[in-house]
């Protein structure tokens, strides 16, 4: 799939490389910085593409933490697979080293080479599951390596098993499973408080502390899921993406690879052997139009710029949720010009902080009871000499809002049951469920 994989710094200089196939000259990557430069120059025309084809070589790369991961290939490869592989590589390395950046690459080159060897062979992706890789590629060999060959670390069975995500022989004294149903709300609100677009991104997360090879069955109150596709054949369409009178319309359900997809497709049953520890068993997306007519947290903001001297901001925030609910850790992030100074804040409630490196101010409200409204005034200085490059840009930047509301899902989805069955061990087990609604990455209010 890929002939070579490179880790490069932000300027395109290689940090670490692996050649899998030998069909591309090894100095080819040296052209990358120049190609990047050419691309950057075309950026303003919108000609930029995250892929380059130059002299018969395809450069496919993704950007992460000021690093480039780049795959080279001569063929018309499956580019989506390559990109996802590269992102998996980032994911695995991040789980190995906490964060992936120039320094962690330099410091861990031995392990990275080993992982590259194990994750791809002759350009074909192999194992990309960190849990399994960690079984036999460790950063701390001394614990595992014994004096003789017999005791050497072995490839875990799981690598080649049908159940490639769980090893045998896991044992817990107390068998527990924790479920978190997390719904993230993305919302685009215009300056007058109208909702332009909204969606719920839901996730059911599992933390499994279960022994043996347990088989789990998850029951939800989603009508769509539990209606068999054959039941309404006459209507000419099957259920997953279809509106149902009382049930919740889930779109775009995605399952962890442990879930038996065909079982779900045919019988609408979610069954799986879970990986050990934490993972997301399923995710879904809902168009929120049917649940959310108005913003959960409403922000209104007026900005007045006095050129060469100061900027004034008047902001109000209202929790449009049930009176008995409380929003926690509410953050209203308001963009301000890059060259502002001398902040003065007067919040009615909560605290305001200037974050100059991000060119915004953050108004934090730790707890925010439903129905309440608060105001905040801010004033910052602006330099006498205006920044020649400061265009309209910062004015158009939207306000971002973060929050979380516990004990409640916006869609109303509920876990009905989680049945745990380990055929051999037959143990007693305890499922726990929590619900939370929170802001997604993109809960934003447009400014005028």
């Amino acid at each position: 799939m890929a002939s070579q994989i490179h880790f490069l710094d932000i300027k395109g200089k290689p940090l670490l490389s692996r050649d899998y196939k030998g069909d591309i000259p090894s100095n080819t990557i040296d052209k990358f910085p120049l190609l990047l430069l050419e691309l950057e120059n075309s950026h303003e025309d919108g000609d930029y593409k995250p892929f380059i084809n130059s002299q018969g070589i395809n450069y496919i790369y993704i950007n992460h933490n000021n690093l480039y991961l780049c795959a080279l290939s001569r063929k018309n490869e499956n580019i989506m697979a390559i990109i996802i592989f590269l992102s998996k590589l980032i994911e695995v390395l991040t789980q190995y080293f906490k964060s992936l950046e120039e320094e962690s690459i330099r410091d861990n080159f031995v392990v990275i080479y080993e992982l590259l060897d194990e994750m791809m062979d002759f350009g074909v992706p192999q194992t990309t599951d960190t849990k399994i890789l960690k079984e036999y590629i460790t950063q701390d060999y001394y614990k595992l390596v014994k004096k003789s060959a017999d005791h050497l670390v072995q490839p875990p069975q799981a690598v080649t098993n049908a159940v490639s995500w769980r090893k045998d022989g896991i044992h817990y004294k107390k068998n527990e499973a924790f479920l978190d149903v997390v719904e993230s709300i993305n919302m685009l609100i215009n300056a007058s408080g109208q909702v332009l677009n909204s969606e719920i991104l839901g996730e059911v997360k599992v933390k499994s502390h279960l022994s043996g090879m347990p088989d789990l069955r998850l029951g939800l109150n989603d009508k769509g899921i539990f209606t068999s596709p054959n039941a309404d054949e006459e209507a000419g369409s099957s259920s997953a993406g279809q509106t149902n009178n009382k049930g919740i319309e889930m779109e775009d359900i995605k399952f962890h690879q442990c879930v038996r997809l065909s079982k779900f497709e045919n019988e609408r049953i979610i069954t799986f052997i879970p990986p050990d520890g934490e993972f997301t068993v399923m995710s879904y997306r809902l168009s929120a139009a049917q649940f959310l007519m108005k913003p959960l947290i409403l922000v209104q903001c007026k900005t007045k710029v006095h050129k060469h001297s100061r900027i004034e901001i008047l902001c109000s925030v209202k929790a449009q949720i049930k009176k008995k609910s409380t929003a926690n850790n509410v953050e209203v992030i308001i963009p301000i010009p890059e060259d502002a100074d001398t902040p003065k804040f007067t919040p009615e409630y909560g605290t305001v902080k200037w974050i100059p490196e991000k060119s915004h101010i953050v108004w934090k409200l730790k707890t925010f009871p439903g129905g309440k409204q608060f105001h905040m005034r801010a004033e910052l200085g602006l330099p006498a000499v205006t920044d020649p490059e400061e265009i309209l840009s910062s004015n158009k930047k939207p306000i971002k809002v973060n929050f979380s509301i516990p004990y409640f899902t916006t869609s109303g989805i509920q876990v009905r049951y989680l049945r745990i069955n380990e055929p051999k061990l037959q143990y007693q087990s305890y499922p726990w469920v929590r619900y939370i609604t929170q802001s997604g990455d993109d809960y934003t209010v447009r400014t005028k």
Partner: protein, 617 residues
């Protein structure tokens, strides 16, 4: 807020670019806020400015510190002034509005009893003077330029040069100082005077006669420097003051190339160039720098034959050195020699050609431009071949439009015969058809139109056709082919051509196939496609009277028809008009579509590489 040192350390400690940005932005914010503090002590102010300097080096914004710099340099203390001026020169340029606030400080400081403070103000003015500042402050400079203090005089000269550049009307005040300035024997003021002479020379033609009169003095200075013994302070690897020598030589060149330069002066210049060039021992960069400057002068002024030979020999030596920089400047200089000593340059042809495949783009650029410069009717076959090799093999897409244009121009001038001419152009289209400018493309089509030899025309069109059938990825080749097929379809129909080693009969089907492939399988940019389709439409119309088979003709009509809704205006207009013509009676059509008369022959001037690179449409 900590010290500068702790700030720099904090920046360096940041492990990621994001961390670094955070440290920098936070500090920048703290500095901005600190500026608002009216009670700030001078030390903190200085630290703020120093930190801003560091931000500046890192490419961060510093516009908000401009006013603060002006405040700091207005302080009476030297340390403040020094730092204030340093920062002002970096943060401000002649376009900044706050520059007017600087006038007063500069005025005061240039009259300061302390020479170093005067020096700072001069340096600042010299770096960032605007036309207004120049007019406001020239009298100060006028005064300083006659001071006895060498340190200030040398600076004042360069500042004066700058002021004259900003406002040529100020020339008169400094022109009269030249005789005195050029009689100075000290190297530094001479450097300044030399610069001032150059500026005055370019500022106004009126200045020139007076300046030319300095030639004997400059020659004398050069003589003195070259014959002086070892001067440790000015010696660079055995050469005395190469900076001064180069500066004087370049001034001399400017003055001596002036039409009004009298013959006796020219003779003096010739002599001194001979002397400088023959007395230098080459091998070291400093010496090469002077030799290089001499050679440039030798070929710029009216010089003796013997001197020219000397110059050519020096370049020959340069070309044969291992040092790439010397080789580079030699290639660069040969370009200006070509008109004066063409034969001498021709001798280096093989070296030049070999540089076309050098690993260094700087060398390749020079070699390419030189290759075209030495191209003539004697060597065109050889050189054209080399250039085609370059076009095919090289990855320098920025050089290719230049190379194709030049090749076409050169081929028009020097081609040994018409057949060779067409064959070369078609080969060029095959290897670099995506790097041909629209102007040159028209030129190639015009050449075909102008060709009166029927056999040759047929040869050209069939060759185009077979090349295009082999490879449709070269835009200009496709465009020219499709036009030629439309205009001369009758000539090629029925002939056999070779495509990828196989014999192929050119019939109506084949041509329809070609059109179809060009429309459907080509992958040109949107703009190119519009042009291609436009050409195709005209060809279709022309072919409609050349085709015999009614089915083929109907296919042509359908092709026209399918474009009558095209979102591109030009294509739509064409398709609709042509559709109407298509429906007219045969006699009228024959008249309308008779052979197109040839366009006027246009002479094209050779281009230089720098001007042509941005011309690609």
């Amino acid at each position: 807020m900590g010290s500068l040192k702790s700030f720099i350390k904090a920046v360096r400690k940041a492990k990621t670019i994001a961390d670094e940005r955070a440290v920098v932005r936070k500090e920048s914010a703290a500095i901005r806020t600190s500026f608002r503090d009216a009670t700030l002590d001078q030390t903190t102010r200085r630290i703020n400015i120093s930190k801003l300097l560091y931000l500046y080096i890192m490419g961060e914004k510093t516009h908000f510190g401009q006013v603060e710099c002006l405040k700091v340099l207005a302080s009476p203390r030297f340390a403040d002034k020094r730092l204030g001026y340093l920062a002002t020169m970096l943060f401000l340029d002649e376009n900044q509005e706050v520059l007017t606030l600087l006038t007063n400080s500069l005025d005061n400081d240039m009259q300061h009893p302390n020479a170093f403070i005067v020096g700072l103000a001069l340096c600042c003015l010299g770096n960032i003077a605007s036309p207004e500042l120049a007019r406001d402050l020239y009298t100060n400079v006028e005064k300083i330029i006659t001071t006895n203090n060498t340190y200030l005089r040398k600076k004042a000269c360069i500042v004066a040069a700058k002021l004259v550049e900003k406002d040529p009307d100020l020339s008169e005040f400094f022109l009269q100082k030249i005789p005195q300035l050029i009689s100075d024997k000290q190297p530094a003021p001479l450097l300044g005077a030399s610069k001032l002479i150059q500026s005055l020379y370019y500022a106004s033609e009126e200045n020139r006669p007076a300046l030319i009169k300095t030639i004997p003095s400059i020659v004398a200075h050069l003589k003195r420097v070259t014959t002086s013994g070892y001067m440790p302070d000015y010696d660079v690897m055995g050469t005395t003051d190469p900076f001064l020598q180069v500066s004087l030589l370049s001034t001399l060149r400017i003055l001596a190339t002036d039409e009004q330069c009298p013959a006796e002066y020219l003779e003096q210049v010739n002599d001194i160039l001979t002397q400088v060039a023959s007395n230098l021992e080459s091998g070291k960069n400093a010496a090469h720098a002077i030799l290089y400057e001499c050679v440039k002068s030798i070929f710029a002024i009216q010089s003796d034959q013997s001197l020219k030979i000397l110059g050519v020999n020096i370049l020959g030596k340069f070309l044969s050195t291992k040092d790439n920089n010397t080789r580079y400047v030699a290639l660069d200089t040969l370009l200006s020699v070509i008109n004066i000593e063409p034969l001498a340059v021709q001798r280096h042809r093989s070296t030049i050609v070999s540089c076309l495949s050098d690993g260094d783009i700087s060398i390749r650029r020079r070699a390419l431009e030189l290759s075209f410069a030495i191209l003539n009717d004697q060597n065109i076959r050889v050189l054209a071949r080399e250039i085609l090799v370059f076009l095919e093999g090289s990855a320098d897409s920025e050089l290719k439009p230049y190379a194709t244009s030049q090749l076409v121009i050169a081929a028009s001038k020097y081609s040994p015969n018409d057949k060779w001419h067409f064959d070369t152009l078609i080969r060029m289209l095959k290897v670099a058809g995506n790097y041909v400018t629209s102007d040159i493309l028209s030129n190639i089509l015009a050449l075909i139109l102008q060709c009166n030899d029927g056999e040759l025309k047929k040869h050209a069109v069939t060759k185009l056709l077979s090349s295009c059938l082999e490879d449709m990825s070269q835009f200009s080749l496709s465009l020219i082919t499709i036009w030629a097929v439309g205009e001369y379809g009758d000539i090629v129909l029925g002939s056999n051509i070779e495509v990828n080693g196989k014999q192929v009969l050119v019939d109506e089907k084949k041509i329809l196939q070609l059109i179809d492939d060009l429309i459907n399988n080509s992958t040109y940019s949107e703009n190119e496609n519009v042009q291609l389709i436009s050409y195709i439409l005209t060809s279709i119309l022309k072919l409609s009277i050349k085709f015999k088979d009614s089915q083929s003709i109907e296919k042509l009509r359908l092709m026209l028809n399918s474009r009558t809704y095209d979102s591109n205006l030009e294509i739509q207009i064409r398709a609709v008009e042509y559709q109407e013509i298509f429906a007219q009676d045969a006699k009228l059509k024959k008249g309308l579509l008779a052979r197109m008369p040839a366009p006027p022959v246009k002479e094209r001037e050779s281009l230089s590489l720098n001007n042509s690179s941005n011309k690609k449409t």
